[in-house]
């Protein structure tokens, strides 16, 4: 049995995001993607792809690496 990982989730503020995608590049589990609709500023914001991948290993752990990297403080992190 594999060790149970911490469960977490993030909330990205669509309107604060400027689409630099640094969070996409640093997420250790590639759980952040790009939205296919524009925000009011005209950027395609980053989007949390969620934990519903069905695979235990692939879920968000709430490590906050994305939030630390986000220049626009658009990400909030929650951990159980």
């Amino acid at each position: 049995m594999t060790k149970k990982r911490k469960k977490g989730r993030i909330v990205i503020d669509r309107e604060l995001c400027k689409g630099c995608y640094l969070c996409v590049s640093v997420c250790p589990d590639q759980l952040i993607g790009v939205s296919d609709s524009l925000n009011q500023k005209g950027y395609y914001p980053a989007e949390f792809k969620g934990n519903n991948t069905g695979e235990e290993e692939r879920g968000c752990t709430g490590c906050a690496t994305c939030a630390i990297t986000c220049p626009d403080v658009a990400i909030e992190v929650y951990r159980e």
Binding site: K18, Y43, I68, T69, P71, D72, Y78
Partner: protein
């Protein structure tokens, strides 16, 4: 019940940064705001913002501000700290501001050992005016005033200001870090924390040079700019503690 582990710091106002996507300034602003809260110095901190992209720092950091003329941050901070010695005074300056226009003020403030903290954001260009060559531009790096790359024979070589300031007797703590990766961002936060602590302990001049990407003026995507810092800028400006006379400060 999920616990919130990361949110907007208390000393960062709820306004949207005017910085370009992927700019290092906004990351450094956030680190400063987090530290003001952690060290509990937000109520007695005075920031001296520069001329440059970060001139509007007073729209973001919720502390007292005293705007300085271009490059004269260290001189203004000297005056503030001498008249209000119980305040925590820090300047926030870019490379064009501190390494070109304000070189004299900065060197003499360090040499006098003024008890201030300087946050020196080095992105290698004059960002606000549109990407002209700064003293810290790398050899061969394109800028609007060095098309085809900076030529050392014509334009000189990159200026290592932190190393210069380390020679000054009054400087106590000087470190160079970067904000191009999560690891380096954490390291930058530790460095700025130590710089503030050096000032709180009354030891003297502290400076943290932060290598920051400028995707817009480097004409790169933010992700590429972060890589470029790693591959090129840190080769000329290696990340290290340049001077530490303070040792362990609590």
């Amino acid at each position: 019940m999920a616990k919130k582990v990361f949110e907007r710091p208390k000393y960062l106002k709820k306004s949207v940064f005017h910085y370009c996507p992927g700019c290092g300034h906004s990351i450094i602003h956030r680190l400063v705001a987090e530290l003001l809260d952690e060290l509990d110095i937000g109520k007695k901190a005075i920031c001296v913002p520069p001329a440059g992209c970060a001139v509007l720092a007073y729209n973001y950091l919720d502390v007292d501000m005293g705007e300085a003329p271009h490059g004269r941050g260290a001189a203004v901070a000297t005056g503030l700290k001498r008249t209000l010695p119980d305040k925590i005074v820090f300047t926030y300056q870019g490379d064009g501001d501190i390494a070109a226009i304000g070189t004299a003020e900065t060197i003499h403030a360090a040499n006098r050992g003024e008890n201030i903290t300087v946050i020196f954001v080095n992105n290698g260009v004059y960002g606000m005016t549109g990407g002209q060559m700064a003293p810290t531009t790398l050899e061969g790096q394109n800028s609007t005033t060095t098309p085809g790359g900076r030529d050392p024979a014509r334009d000189g070589s990159p200026l290592d200001l932190s190393q210069m300031l380390a020679i000054a007797k009054g400087s106590v703590y000087i470190e160079r870090t970067a904000v191009n990766s999560p690891k380096n961002i954490r390291r930058t936060k530790r460095a700025i924390k130590k710089a503030f602590k050096v000032q709180m302990a009354g030891l003297g001049f502290s400076l943290v040079e932060v290598l920051s990407p400028c995707p817009t003026n480097w004409k790169m995507t933010p992700v590429d700019a972060a890589k470029w810092v790693e591959e090129h800028v840190t080769k000329i400006f290696p990340l290290k503690v340049i001077k530490d006379k303070a040792g362990k400060v609590t």
